[in-house]
Structures are given as C-alpha cells and as structure tokens.
Amino acid sequence: MGQGICVGEHDMQESNVVIETRDLTKRFKDVLAVDALNMKVRKGEIYGFLGPNGAGKSTTIKMIIGLLRPTAGQAFINGSPVSDGRVELRKDIGFLPERISFYDNLTPVQTLNFFCELRRADQSIVPSLLKEVGLDDVAHRKVGTFSKGMTQLLGVAQAMIGKPSIYILDEPTGGLDARWVKVVRDKIRALNEQGATIIFSSHILSEVQMLCHRVAIIDKGRLVAEDTIENISSHLNIRPRLWMHIPGLNDKAPLWLNEIEGVEAVAVKGDTMTVTCDGAVRLAVMTTIREKGLKIQDFRTVEPSLEEAFVKLLSVEEGS
C-alpha cells in the first residue's frame, strides 16, 4: 500500500465490517492488477470504489464475489473467507457485474424467474422488480433485442432479488442515459436507507461524491486512500474556497489580501477572485475587500471536490 492514507481506522469496529480484503492480490501473467489491497466496508454505508479505468476496481470486485481467484491474500464477507464451497455467503449479496449480459432467448420475466430459482427466492416479486426499473412494458420481449441500458436495468432488478443486505455494483450507471442514471442513483439511496450496505465502483467523481459515505481511491491496483471525502480533502489540505465576482478587478490580484492571517492563496482571473482560506476568516476577507473600496457583486463558497482530491492523490502517487 506504500504511503497510502488510511485515516480514521482506529474507530473501525470489527463487528461492523461486512466486506474486507486482506492483502488481496491478483496477477494476470505479467500484469499486477491488484496489489496487496486492504479495505474494509462497514455495515450500512455506501462505499465508493473510485479509480481510473484499468485501476483494478473490477478485478477486486470479482475477487470479492468469487469470480476470480486471488493470487495472494483473501476477501471476507461477513467475516468468512470467500470460497466456492461457501455458497451461503453469496446469498446475501446482490451483484451487478460491469459488462452484464443475459440469455438472449429469454424474456426479462423468464430471466428473473431463473435467477429467483437460483437464489431460492419467491418468483412472485418479479413483476414488481421489473416495474421498479421501468422494464414492465417490455416484460415479454426477448432480452436479445434489448439495448445496453435496458440490459443494465434488468441487471439492477436481478441484483435486488431476495432483498440482499449487501449490494456490490460494478459501474451501475455505466451505459445508462441521464433519466435512468437518476433512477439507479435514487435506487441506491433508497436501498441504503432501508439498511443495505452498498459498494459501487465508478470513475465518475461527482457521482461518488454525491452518493458515498466513504470512498476508496485505487490506482494501478493499489489503495491510495480510504476515508470520507471530507477527511481525504482535509488530509490533502484541500480547503473550501471563497469565490467572488468583483467588477473592475481586471486580472490584478490585490497584495494586501495575503496579509490577512488564514489566507493561503489568492487567484484572480478576469473579474473573479478565488481565495483559499479558513472558514473563519472568510468574513474578514470580504470586509477588507469592501473597506478597500471594491464592490463584491456575487460570492459563494466552493466545497472541496473529490476531483481535486483525486487529481492530487494520483499526482502524489506518480511522483513517489
């Protein structure tokens, strides 16, 4: 894991951990896809699994669900090591793979009936599941005629069979159009509110920021950070910023602003100024600006974004 950051690990209660990986490693011939990955997912949280394409997200997820055999290390579900013989562990997991595909000759109803049978769940929930993902009007069309997005939605319905308490979703909104992205995100929130633990991977930072309680950032198979977005940001010194629109500024940064204690950086572009500073000095900054005779026409605070944390973390990684 190298110099990766894992802040807040001390308050982790073992009994609350539903998914854990210990030194999980996967090597494909000469490529080290996942490198001694240690992560813990707590009960009841939405855990974002973030990283650029090819970072090892899907490989890790596949090892957790048992589709891939780890080269070294082990994944644990509810404290038990994952292995093919322990099928009961998977009964409590709803899984949506990255590239989902079903049997072309079956209709959505037949598909879900098949998976209900495999998961030993009652088939009477099938119509309501299809309604929830908006596939009720194509319930008797063959899956082979479906678009990628429709297949993805059927995958979401499939994952909900048997009301599992853990969901592992690999790029759940990938390939969906905007309308269905919202449906899936709302679904993730709703399931979480009903008590389910959700792990989902994504390379869309805003999505992760919007939904997740905690995130794991992974790059080149290694865990770069695992924490809440706020903690990662504060650890990386990514501060909220004050954005102001001041007419007549004309690219000139007033030097006197830097003299205020607590101001870290001042950036000016055209008539807008961005000040990175502690929250407590924001008012002082704005008062000073007004005292100097400048007029603040508009202002807002910009919260630290995961994107910044991400870029910063990855550049730190590159450097090391």
Binding site: K62, L89, F115
Partner: protein
Amino acid sequence: MLLNPRPIYTIAKKEFADNARNKWILALVSIFLVLVIAASFMAGGGKLGEMGLTVTTLSSISAMLIPIIAIMLGYATISGEAESGALSVVLASPVRRVEVLLGKYLGLASVICFSVLMGFGTSGIIIAVMTGEAQWGGYLAFMLLSMLLGLLYLSLSICFSSVLKRRVTSLAAGVVIFFWGMIIGMIVIGLYMATGGSLNEFIMGDTSSIPEWVWFEMFLSPQDGSSAAAMLAFGETEFMGYDLDLPPWLNLGTLVLVQLLWTIVPLTLAFIWFQKRDV
C-alpha cells in the same frame, strides 16, 4: 461437500428450455427421423429395409452427425457465456461451480438424448410396422450407442469450453475435435501401408493378416468406435460382404468401455478446469 440438486435442476431445465425455444430440438428430431427412413430405403433397395441393414447404412452418417450436434450445443456453453458476461451473474448466485457445470451438462445431454429417442424411436417404430420384422434388441442398442456418442462429444466440447477463454477459439477446438475422429482412421491406415501392409486385405476380405494394432483405431476414434459397436450390437461382422476377423479384445463390451472413458475423462477435466477458471 454435498451437491445441491436444486440449482443443478434449475440450470439443466434452463438449458433444455433454451434449446427447445431455439427450435434445436425440433430440427434434430426431424433430421434423425428423415435420416433413418432414408437409410432404411437405401438398405431395402427402394422400400423400407430391415433394421440391421438400415443401422449399418446409417451408423457412419449418424456417427458424423451426432458429434457435430453435440459440439454445436456444448462448445460455447462456458467460454461463450464467460465472454459475454452472462456467466458472471450465474456464478455470483449462491451456487457452486460444480453444480453449474453439472446442470449444463445434464440439460444439454437431455437435448441430445431426447432428440435421439424421438427421432430414432419414431422411425424405428415406422420401420417395424412397415416391414413387419423388428430387431428391437439391436435397434435399442443402436439408440443407446448414439446417445452415448452424443454424451461423449458433449463432454469433449464442454471440456475445451471450460478451459478456453473465447467463443471463437472453442469453435476452432470443436472443429479439431470433430476431425480428429475422422482423420485418425486415415493416419492408422497410412501407418499400416507404410509398415508394409496393403489395402488388398481389406478389399479381398482377408482380414486375418491385418495386424492387431490397426484395430486399435476403433478406440482412438470415438466415431469409428461407435459405428463398429452399432454393427456388433446387431451381430453384423460383415464388411462389404466379407466376414471380419476381429481380434478378441475388440468386442461390444470393450468398445462401450472405451466410449465411456472418452466421456468421463474429459468431463472430469472440465470440472477441474472450470473450478479453477477466472471468469
């Protein structure tokens, strides 16, 4: 590590129903039916011939057709589904891999057995009714041998499907496996010629001078072995009108035993490889 019969049944049922929906089964039953009736007409010289002759005429064609069908049913069942992604969801369910593979094998096997039973069975009844004489023992053995040949090639195709990564490579492997059974005969004859033998022995019907190892070809080629077993099952030991002088170790029992080995060994390998496979 007891197997759970429920997921096995679920998957087998799905495979059978899937192929029934594909109209595979209907096509197979029709092909088998037409084939037997046509062979019977050939054997009877324009009218329906008796069963023994019909099977002799038929066995070489069915020994070619049944492997093709079994390979077509089985070659992509693992590799194709792994490539498309359909297998991931199945394997992420609370089922063991052994159960998945067994379910697939049983489901596809029942497609073959059902088609043989319906196609050959119906035509057998037609011939028996029309000719008024039935060699049911031999004909039943022929049907069973045909099913066994189907199961054999299904094992082989599932075996390479569970080790190969992609659909196209397993299709290529299917072609190789299919031609193996046809080419090995030529290779053995070639070796026989190269070691001083001549085709005269075959043509003149004097098979006693043929070295025993040549007959071993019947064990190497599942297709030839199956045809030979079908003839022996009818008590036919003639080849082009001449009596065959077979070595004592080549009989119906040993032929069936070897066919069973050809079925069980690849299937066992399939289980081992599928268990280790990265999906």
